[in-house]
């Protein structure tokens, strides 16, 4: 079932098209990564999905409800953190959650608040004022308020900003667990590593347009590939297949899976022994490389950083 659907969504601010013609679908139980550099239009897209901004054109549906025509019906199924989860610092964690629960139409507010506080590991300090919370605790409270209404769609904007490595791991595990319970999760990020570890599918946005969309599993499968340029690709392929390699034809190059140096050496030896000339052997370079190949920015080299800011941590 499609939980979130974007059709031809564009947003113009002043003269600038911030986001253009987005088409995306997020299914039940799926963690969908929305990857792009800062300023590419991620936050604008997220704000349109949760009804903070009106799209200039296009349709956004959540569980079948048009966010513009029926915001109440659509937002009933959404939990979200938009950028930093700012809370009322003069209220306690519990009061904040009660505040949001009242608006979210939660039935048994007290029990639900206690349950989400427990789930994000904040039960101990839920009655302290938020101004005494650390950044990590505020993030947890942010997640707690997003989960209050037991949403079908969780929309998170750069959720791991400011988390320490342990907090990030914990957060990833929580997201995976929620997805396995059937929740659809839409996560924006500028960190490839984060998307790789959390998401099932990923869309890459640049300058307001989605330039590619792919399954993370496919990208990962592409990692560990070796590309070989030889004098006679057809013969070379037959030779490798005979030797037990799974070689694929890739134009003037052969692609094959070779996890380590030993395997590469064996493949090259097999080709040389068959009397073929080997001109070039290159590693595809892991997920990041296959990703850059996919986005078509690998050739330009310097632009790679602009497309995907490397995992800095």
């Amino acid at each position: 079932m499609d939980v979130l659907e974007l059709r031809g969504v564009s947003k113009r601010l002043g003269r600038r098209m911030v986001v253009q013609d987005l088409d995306m679908t997020v299914r039940e139980g799926e963690v969908y990564g929305f990857l792009g550099p800062n300023g590419a239009g991620k936050t604008t897209t997220i704000r349109m999905i949760v009804g903070l901004i009106r799209p200039t054109s296009g349709i956004i549906r959540i569980c079948g409800h048009d966010i513009e025509r029926n915001p109440v019906g659509a937002l009933k199924h959404v939990g979200t953190i938009v950028e930093n989860p700012e809370m009322y610092s003069y209220l306690t964690g519990r009061q904040n959650l009660i505040h949001y629960a009242r608006l979210a139409g939660v039935r048994d507010i007290e029990r639900r608040v206690a349950a989400v506080a427990e789930r994000v590991g904040l039960a101990q300090r839920i009655d302290e004022k938020v101004k005494r919370y650390s950044l990590g605790m505020r993030q947890r409270l942010g997640v707690a308020q997003a989960l209050l209404a037991d949403p079908k769609l969780l929309v998170l904007d750069e959720p791991t900003n400011g988390l320490d490595p342990a907090g990030m791991r914990e957060f990833r595990e929580l997201i995976r667990r929620l997805a396995s319970e059937g929740m659809a999760v839409f996560i924006s990020s500028h960190l490839l590593a984060e998307v790789e570890q959390m998401c099932d599918r990923v869309a890459v946005i640049r300058d307001g347009r989605v330039i590619t969309e792919a399954d993370v599993a496919d990208l990962r499968a592409g990692a560990g590939q070796v590309q070989i340029r030889v004098s006679d690709p057809a013969t070379a392929r037959a030779t490798l297949l005979a030797a037990g390699w799974k070689a694929e034809d890739g134009g003037d190059r052969l692609r094959l899976m070779a996890k380590d140096d030993e395997a590469v050496a064996q493949a090259v030896r097999a080709l040389v022994e068959a009397g073929l000339d080997v001109y070039e052997v290159t590693r595809a370079g892991g997920l990041e490389q296959s990703f850059l190949a996919l986005t078509g920015a690998a050739q330009t080299g310097g632009e790679a950083d602009a497309v995907v800011e490397r995992a800095a941590q």
């Binding site: 949760v50 700012e86 009322y88 003069y90």
Partner: protein
Amino acid sequence: MRLWNVLRNEWMKLVRRRRLTVVAVLGLCLVGLFAFGEYQARQNARNYNPIVAQQNALAELKKQRSAIASEPPSQARDQQLQSIDAAIASVQQQLQEAKQQAQAQVDWRASVKTEMDNIRQELAQIPTGSAALPSEQARRADLQAELTLDQYRLDHDVAPVFRPKLSAWEETLSFLSVADKTFIPLLVVVLVGDMVAGEMTSGTIKLLVVRPVRRRTLLFGKWLVSVAASAVVSFVLCWLFLLAGLAIQGTQGALEPHWLGVTYQFVKSPDDPLNLTAIPNYAHAYLVPAWLCVLYQSLLVALAMAVVATITFFCSTVFKSSMVSTAVAMGAVVIGYVVTEIATARGQGWVRWLFPTHLDLFSDWNGDLVRALQHPVTLGSGILTLLVWAAVLLMLSFIRFGRQDILNA
């Protein structure tokens, strides 16, 4: 049901914000200031004995006279003597009046009756009908009102409050007539200046708007809470002023009658061609005891402050920074006050369309405003003006908030 939840939320936030504490502290400071002023006034009234003061003045004048009389005679000396004699006569007159007043305290009924006789005599000398000049008509109406008021005293057994005693009710009424145009609106601005802008500034608006609740419901709830809180705070403040006054001055004067609903007609009188003469009309006016006036006054203040809260609320939805929205609303109150005071004193009629003119609705009612403005204003038209301001700005707030893209909160 959703609205009820929004109201509960907004109330919870309002009472826990620091702004409410600030308003409470400022309000109590004001009450303290008022109480101190009342205490001073009471001490002054007690220390001042009009009979002794006039007697001292008389003795001083007589000493001067004898000093001048001993100088060699000249024209200048005679002139000085003449002016001193005139001063002595006037002080003697005042002394006489002070003694009469002291006498009136013993038997106020007799003195009221004497006064009524004097008024009747004066009335008999003023021509009636179309022959009367406008100034004479005005004088006639005033005298008749005075007569009615005196009769009311006798009928309802209401003794006037004599110095050194002061009436806390009167003091509160006159203090409120200034405070409700200045201090109290500023407190309201502080209280609700960040209702929406504050959430924009802190970023909490995001997590508020993404709930399955219509924006107009959120805004309506916020507005209701702002208006209710402002009305309650200002009403309570009015009664705190009164309580402070009562604690210091005592309870006398509660039944003192006041005219409400006086209207005026402005005409040019041949004997005063430069100014307009105000002819009061008491046809639809009525006498109301002071305690009831304070109650009406505080209810009207609460109403006017609800309007100020709405105007501030509008600023709060237009400006994203709570500091800017508070500053603009404060500017509107302060500048509005100054402008309307100046324009009112000059009798410029257009100020009756501005909201600051009507913040003291009680003056719309008792006729003070009309008299100063020289243009027709009634309690009804004053309230209507305020409500139109509130309704228009509230509508603009809804349009603004309903359509707004929340980009960088």
